[in-house]
Amino acid sequence: MNWFSSFPQMNDSSLTALKKAIDEGFRQFTRQYGDTIEGFFTPLQAFLIWAERLMINTPWPIVLAVVGAIAWLASRRVSVTAAAIATLLLIGYFGMWEDTMRTISMILVCTVLSIAIGIPIGILMARSAAVQGCINPVLDVMQTMPSFVYLIPVVMLLGIGRVPGVIAVVIYALPPIIRLTNLGIRLVDRDMLEAADAFGSSSWQKLRKVQLPLALPTIMAGINQTIMMALAMVVIASMIGVQGLGQPVLKAIANQYFTLGIFNGLAIVGIAIIFDRVSQAFGLRLQKHREAVHG
């Protein structure tokens, strides 16, 4: 009756052997292909460094002006624009300007990458039930797997630095943009698609003139979510050498520096709110045509 009271698990020696074999296999793989893979990511590394330098070397008044202009163009609201500028001024005044610029450049690169990868995948998913069936479980894993777990192989392959950080952030931030692109396209009214067909649209014309424009508000919501999730990863990414607002937080945790932690934490919250409000206001403006209703 031993099997009844204690679980009949694999015996310890074969379990250890299995783990060892997998570890050994992966290490082998790393040794063999690590350089190739690193080479593959060199352009990304260069781009990251370029973006970071750009943000840091640009004089602060110009950065403020650009952020203000973007906020205004996207939202057309004085309140949003003023709040964005005020937040950045406060952050700078408390001595976190450079770290903030590093974090913003990182988030921008991650967001652009996520959009560039996520929207095409979302479109493919919307066009084929089979693709959707394959990718959905992958997205589930990406969203539920603790990020520390996939940091391990990434660090083993690429070491510590910006590129592994970006990969970790993109893995974490990618699912919402894929899911919402897929959803937005699937939600497009069948009548609209039928009309497009009746006028002789090719499937590319249908995508470009009907599906994507009508899905755009949903896709914008996905981009907003992606930005927020990328920001949430800033501290974790700093553990593998990504510089920015995450590093002081990490230092604060290790040494129990309460004020350092809270200042940098608030700065992260500040940029999150700027990104969120500006992108939401832009999404809302895309739907202007829905507001005015006849009657």
Binding site: G200, S201, S202, H289, A292
Partner: protein, 356 residues
């Protein structure tokens, strides 16, 4: 590109069965299996059952039927939004059913345009942007698109609204945009799928007038789907009545009202304002006294009655286009023709009513 107007539509032996293996059941339907039996015994839905309709170029063909009769399925076979199970749809001699994918796109871009029951306008586009849609798909130069779209926007009475969004317009105005979008395509065939069913009655009458006025100049081949017999009688040069996927009667409005093919149609016709539909020539008596007012043979009984009562005469002479007297009408005859009596069956080919 301005296509030469004047393509007729010829639908021959068209069957549509919905289900996992439709082709296997066509023969049984040909042999007389009914829609209900096909459903009960084989779990397949009979959409269309041996449809044969021939629409001359430049005329309005109305397909009338209640919901579930297959009328929307039928119109979607003309531009092959739905694939037929078997059959032919010949347009200008080409069989739409046999076209390749690329040919079908070109056919839809240049030969047909469609108006939808729920308008199907793009909400993120203005009236102008919606109207150019078909031209954009064809890849026309932008200035031609705008110029042509603006002309049709004016023509359907929406001048000044081209910058509005569909949400800012009433249902009637939205459907005018739908009509302008279809007409801007300048295709010889216009498909109208319950185009006016979502509009309220006054607006509907109004839009029917718009269509009839336009048709005088554009002379398109129009396939018009409706569930409203009054609308069918007003618009249709030819009317086909569809029931359970089968055409139960085809003919002019006079044929349908005066000689309904079965009780089902007779039941519909009972509710129709006969005075407005029936023409003088359909019920006139042989030529009688030649005094009294003259009435055109295509005048409705309503018009004839108004003319007679205004003139105070007892009888009116019915004349043809050349002015020759071809018959006579008096008030009792008109009144008895207008009252819905027991349905005269088609085989009872008696033009002069019994109580004259």
């Amino acid at each position: 590109m301005a296509e030469p107007s004047g393509l007729g539509i010829e639908i021959r032996h068209l069957f549509k069965i919905f289900g996992p293996s439709p082709a296997a059941h066509v023969q049984k339907v040909r042999d007389g299996l009914s829609k209900a039996e096909l459903m009960a015994r084989h779990q397949h839905v009979l959409g269309l059952n041996d449809i044969n309709i021939s629409v001359p170029a430049g005329s309005i063909q109305v397909i009338m039927g209640l919901s579930g009769s297959g009328k929307s399925t039928l119109i979607r076979h003309v531009n092959r939004l739905i694939e037929p199970t078997v059959g032919e749809v010949l347009i200008g001699g080409a069989d739409v059913v046999k076209m390749s994918k690329a040919e079908l796109l070109q056919f839809r871009r240049h030969q047909t345009a469609m108006v939808f029951q729920k308008f199907a306008l793009l909400p993120n586009r203005t009236v102008l942007e919606n109207t150019v849609f078909g031209l954009e798909i064809k890849g026309m130069p932008r200035n031609v698109q705008v110029e042509r779209a603006m002309r049709w926007i004016e023509r359907v009475g929406l001048g000044g609204f081209e910058g509005r969004y569909p949400n800012q317009l009433s249902g009637g105005m939205q459907q005018r945009v739908g009509l302008a979008r279809a007409l801007a395509n300048d295709a010889p065939i216009l498909l109208m799928d319950e185009a006016y069913s979502a509009l309220d009655p006054l607006i509907r009458m109004d839009m029917q007038t718009v269509l009839l006025d336009l048709q005088k100049e554009i002379r398109k081949t129009i396939l018009f789907i409706t569930h409203d017999l009054d609308e069918a009688l007003r618009l249709g040069d030819q009317i086909a009545i569809l029931r359970d996927g089968k055409v139960t009667q085809q003919g002019t409005s006079q044929d349908i009202v005066l000689r309904p093919a079965d009780d089902y149609i007779a039941n519909f016709v009972k509710e129709v304002n006969r005075g407005r539909v029936i023409r003088a020539e359909a019920v006139m008596a042989p030529p009688g006294p030649t005094e009294g007012p003259r009435i055109s043979r295509v005048a409705s009984l309503d018009e004839a009655m108004r003319l007679l009562s205004r003139s105070g005469a007892q009888t009116a002479a019915v004349i043809d286009e050349a002015g020759r007297i071809v018959g006579s009408l008096d008030l009792p005859l008109i009144v008895s023709s207008m009252a819905p009596h027991e349905p005269e069956m088609a085989q009872n080919d008696q033009r002069v009513p019994l109580f004259s």
